[in-house]
Amino acid sequence: MATTSNPFLQADGKKPTCMEMLQSILDGDATSDQKDYFKQHMDHCMPCYKEYNLDMAIKELLKAKCCGGSCPEDLVSQIKSKINSSAT
């Protein structure tokens, strides 16, 4: 595997911990270079591999189960009618 410089390195040269790298990925803050680096990192870091898969599964489950669908049908018309009555 080619050795590439760590794109997670901070400006002060501080090396991030596994947890910090994983959090950037989970929080949607990682760049594509950082994501690629982390994928390679997981090949030789079993705790990161396990934690990443668990965290991503939770994230998917949240999206699938907690997004709630549609708002009540009458809500839009109620808002519109209040706005129209206040405008007149």
């Binding site: 911990t17 709630g68 708002c71």
Partner: protein
């Protein structure tokens, strides 16, 4: 009510309607879900969303057309929740942020928090377990999970919506994820998984 330091806009009545219908209304389902996840009550969520949209219309000239309407609306809803709803209903939640910062910065953060929660056990959570686990979190922790994982907001957007520094967004998310995992671990154990 300003979100950015944008100059006050001047819209005609027609333009106001266009901004409202074209930029605000498309987010109503996400807004309702956010309201419901904050209040945990469908009628309260409806009132909160209605109130938010009326405020958004009233302050529409603070909003610059074509900018981040969703974040702006989420911020108004969050503020309405804190100022109007939360005050009426109960004591604001108290979170020991000092404790969180200490926790986040400690050497122990790299240990695995929930070594015995497995992906396989999550696959059997096809009912309300995840929703109940999310709802059981303190509202400040619940909020960052909703904003990040359900709505896909970035750190900077969350910082503006919540009026907190980006570092606090990060540490709160970190703590929220661990608390959520603890809840899910309890569900997994109650379903017969992960027995030692």
């Amino acid at each position: 009510m300003e979100f950015e330091d944008a100059p006050r806009q001047h819209y005609s009545e027609k333009e106001k309607q266009e901004v409202f219908d074209g930029e605000f209304m498309p987010h109503i389902h996400s807004m309702y879900n956010f309201g419901y996840r904050l209040t945990l009550d469908r009628d309260d969520a409806k009132d909160l969303v209605q109130d938010t949209y009326l405020k958004a219309f009233r302050f529409i000239e603070s909003f610059q057309k074509g900018t981040n309407a969703k974040a702006w609306l989420f911020r108004i809803l969050k503020n309405s929740f804190i100022n109007d709803y939360r005050k009426k209903s109960k004591e604001p939640s108290k979170v020991d942020y000092q404790e969180i910062e200490t926790y986040y910065n400690s050497e122990e953060v790299d240990r695995q928090i929930t070594p015995d929660l497995r992906v396989e056990s999550l696959k059997d959570m096809i009912g309300d377990e995840i929703s109940n686990a999310l709802n059981s979190l303190d509202v400040d922790f619940r909020t960052v999970i909703i904003l990040c994982d359900l709505e896909g907001f970035k750190y900077e957007e969350m910082a503006k919506i919540l009026d907190i520094p980006i570092g606090t967004v990060r540490s709160r998310l970190h703590r929220a994820r661990n608390l959520l995992k603890e809840k899910l671990k309890s569900y997994a154990q109650s379903m017969g998984y992960n027995k030692a």
